[in-house]
Amino acid sequence: MSESTSSGVLTTADGVPLKVSLRRAVRRSRFKALLLVAPLLLFLGIAFVMPIFDMLSRSVANPEVPTHLSRTVAALEDWDSQSGELPDESTYAALATDLAEGHENRAIGRLSSRLNYEQSGMRSAIMRSGMASRTMEPPYKEGLLEAHEAWGQLETWRLIKRESSPYTMSYYLAAVDMKLSPEGAIVDVADNQKIYQALFWRTFWMSGVITLLTLVLGFPIAYLLANLPLRKSNLLMILVLLPFWTSLLVRTTTWIAILQSQGVLNDMMVALGVIADDARWQMIHNKLGTIIAMTHILLPFMILPLYSVMKTIPSSYMHAARSLGGKPFLSFRRVYFPLTIPGIAAGGILVFILSIGYYITPALVGGQSGRFITNYIAYHMQTSLNWGLAAAIASILLFVVIIFYLVFNRLIGVDKVKLG
């Protein structure tokens, strides 16, 4: 195919340099491969990358004040928020113009919602002043103060100046129970409004407990699956997979039927005389309920990676350890167990990450105390409509998951993980 020319460059038979020819051939096959994965890449881009990027930008986006109060923001540039003086008349005039325009364009709804997150009372201040500003005459300061007393308070102006940037940290701060003080310092919110720190912490430790439980329960099952004769292990595998074929809601509500105070388990215990009728165990609508139901639901995600790793461990390793004089438990601990660590790690990180993101089950069986942070993401998406806060909480979860993944990759190595 190739021959050396006088210049020393290898060429193919028709004189094209070998490197060029090779590149061309490779490019063609690469292009074909790319065509094959193009639908998936497109799908990932639209359904995964873009939404995540959008979520990240939404968690810091702060368009309301800069857009809808643009004149006011410009006028406030020269105002010293620490001066202790209210802004001058020109600023009030700018505000009146902004609000009148916002009212006309129906833009002040968002603005008022945004500012009301930061300071209660801003909604009516904006709405009422918006209505009044349509017909307002100079001096605007008096007119606006008449419309709402908030315009006479320094905090209101400081808030507007603070939120005049197109980006804000306030959603992230709110997501960790903090806020910016009127002076601009980061401070904790009042104790009676703290909620997310505890929820993050609860989500993580409960997910940890669930992961540990799935490991303790799943390890022996995975071992049996990997070591039983084929016919028996197939049957067992069907039992393990059965929950996958059942709707998540059905599984969750079944746990309600079993665990509730008038449920099967309590009835049995009362009938057996283990507990008195008026002292039934509270096993659902609390943390215990969430842990029990989620452990059950996530168990296959632990068993399958464990199984696939155990399947590759030949029985000769244990035989070797025993023949070399290792007692059964010692042989297990020194030889078998270390070899299952990639499976444990894969199952562990899978269950842990899934558990952190679980939402339906804690909502149904968690009651007040067994809810996860994800339930509040849903709440802010669907009920309170504070999407910025929802995005910030979700982003924090995303970061935590990424950190877990990186740590995991460092310690175990993702390439060692085998699934299913």
């Binding site: 030949p314 000769s316 390793y317 035989h319 070797a320 350890a321 025993r322 023949s323 070399l324 004089g325 290792g326 007692k327 059964p328 010692l330 042989s331 020194r334 030889v335 270390p338 070899l339």
Partner: protein, 389 residues
């Protein structure tokens, strides 16, 4: 048939339970006594296994896969329990002794080196569980590594070693705690031919220098012949013959052994006459052959004649003087000649058998045969064993 060749057929269960005299026990290092094994309660994988192993002996269990040889090894190691019978080690029954208390070294088919430990850690494992001191462990590991000539490989992981190196580590690990008995389960099966031969020599060397008793399982007859003091040939759960390599090759006890060990030509017919050390057999093709009766019944019984290819002589015409010593002479026709360098492998048609193989050394004085050529062949009746049908 020599004294140490003992064909063992199906044993009457009544007789199987009879203990052998105790004085014999004392001489033996390890013994299988009437061992039977069944996994499913329906079929016996090992039907009745008796074997006495002397101290320092190299015993090979040879047989096709599924013949029960590995099961016997696993029962000795303690990973399988005999369904019936006894296994004794130094006179003590060990049926109920768990594997880790038997003190038997074992080399596995795939080496079973612990992949998460270094070579040195692998070797240290049996010492650690025996609570050796750190210094002792270090010394023993070093000594074991130098024995297999891998002094510089202690820090490597098994995956970083070649197949032959892994094999040596496995050997060193099975020996490092100085067991008196070492079991090997097809240890060379995964190696290529050259390496395998090298390792055979290596294992023999170590066996000779340490004087340990070894039980070796393989399905490779040449490996078995090369290495063993004695070989037990397994088939269908039964030991067909237990003998030293030469006896096994020269005097197979039955058709299976003859077929399994080395190459052999088979001629099938009926015994028509017994003449002391000889018998006359009429082949199905009509020819009559003189043979040495080894495992045949009386007149009229069916028999398979076994004849090694290298024991067949091609005669230079009817007047060849070498023909005088051969009491079986037949004319034959050359079918195919295969050139194998040091010898020629020739397929001929003789006595109605078209698959009859003869081997002739590639040396002066031997005819170059051509397909289609009519020749005369002959063999001594003592080389032609009349075996079971």
């Amino acid at each position: 048939m020599t004294d140490n060749s003992a064909p063992i057929g199906e044993v009457d269960p009544e007789l199987a339970d009879v203990e052998r005299p105790t004085n014999e026990q004392d001489d033996c290092f390890a013994r299988f006594v009437n061992v039977q094994k069944s996994y499913d309660g329906v079929e016996l994988v090992v039907k009745a296994f008796n074997l006495d192993i002397n101290k320092g002996e190299f015993i090979t269990l040879l047989g096709p896969s599924g013949s029960g040889k590995t099961t016997c090894l696993m029962m000795m190691a303690g990973f399988e329990t005999p369904t019936h019978g006894k296994i004794l080690l130094k006179g003590q029954p060990i049926n109920d002794l768990p594997p880790h208390k038997r003190g038997i070294g074992m080399v596995f088919q795939n080496y079973a080196l612990f992949p998460h430990m270094t070579v040195a850690e692998n070797l240290a494992f049996p010492l650690e569980v025996r609570h050796f001191t750190k210094e002792q462990i270090k010394d023993n590991v070093e000594r074991a590594l130098s024995m297999v000539r891998l002094e510089d490989f202690g820090d490597r992981r098994p995956a970083q070693l070649s197949g032959g190196q892994q094999q040596r580590v496995a050997l060193a690990r099975a020996l490092v705690f100085e067991p008196e008995l070492v079991l090997m389960d097809e240890p060379l099966g995964a190696l290529d031919k050259n390496l395998r031969e090298e390792m055979q020599y290596e294992i023999k060397r170590i066996h000779a220098s340490l004087g340990v008793t070894m039980i070796y399982v393989t399905h490779d007859q040449s490996e078995a012949l090369t290495m063993s003091d004695r070989i037990a040939v397994f088939n269908d759960g039964v030991v067909q013959q237990l003998a030293d390599p030469q006896t096994l090759y020269e005097s197979p006890a039955n058709a299976f052994v003859a077929y399994f060990i080395g190459e052999n030509n088979r001629l099938v017919g009926d015994v028509i006459e017994r003449l002391g050390e000889q018998c006359k057999v009429r082949l199905d093709g009509g020819d009559t052959v003189l043979a040495k009766p080894v495992a045949v019944g009386g007149i009229g019984s069916r028999t398979t004649l076994s004849l090694r290819p290298e024991r067949v002589t091609v005669l230079h015409g009817a007047s060849d003087p070498r023909g005088d010593a051969l009491d079986n002479r037949f004319s034959a026709k050359v079918q195919e000649v295969i050139y194998l360098g040091d010898h020629l492998r020739t397929r001929i048609a003789v006595c109605g058998n078209e698959e009859f193989i003869i081997k002739t050394p590639n040396a002066e004085g031997h005819y170059a045969l051509r397909p289609g050529q009519e020749i005369e062949v002959g063999w001594a009746s003592g080389d032609c064993h009349a075996l079971d049908a």
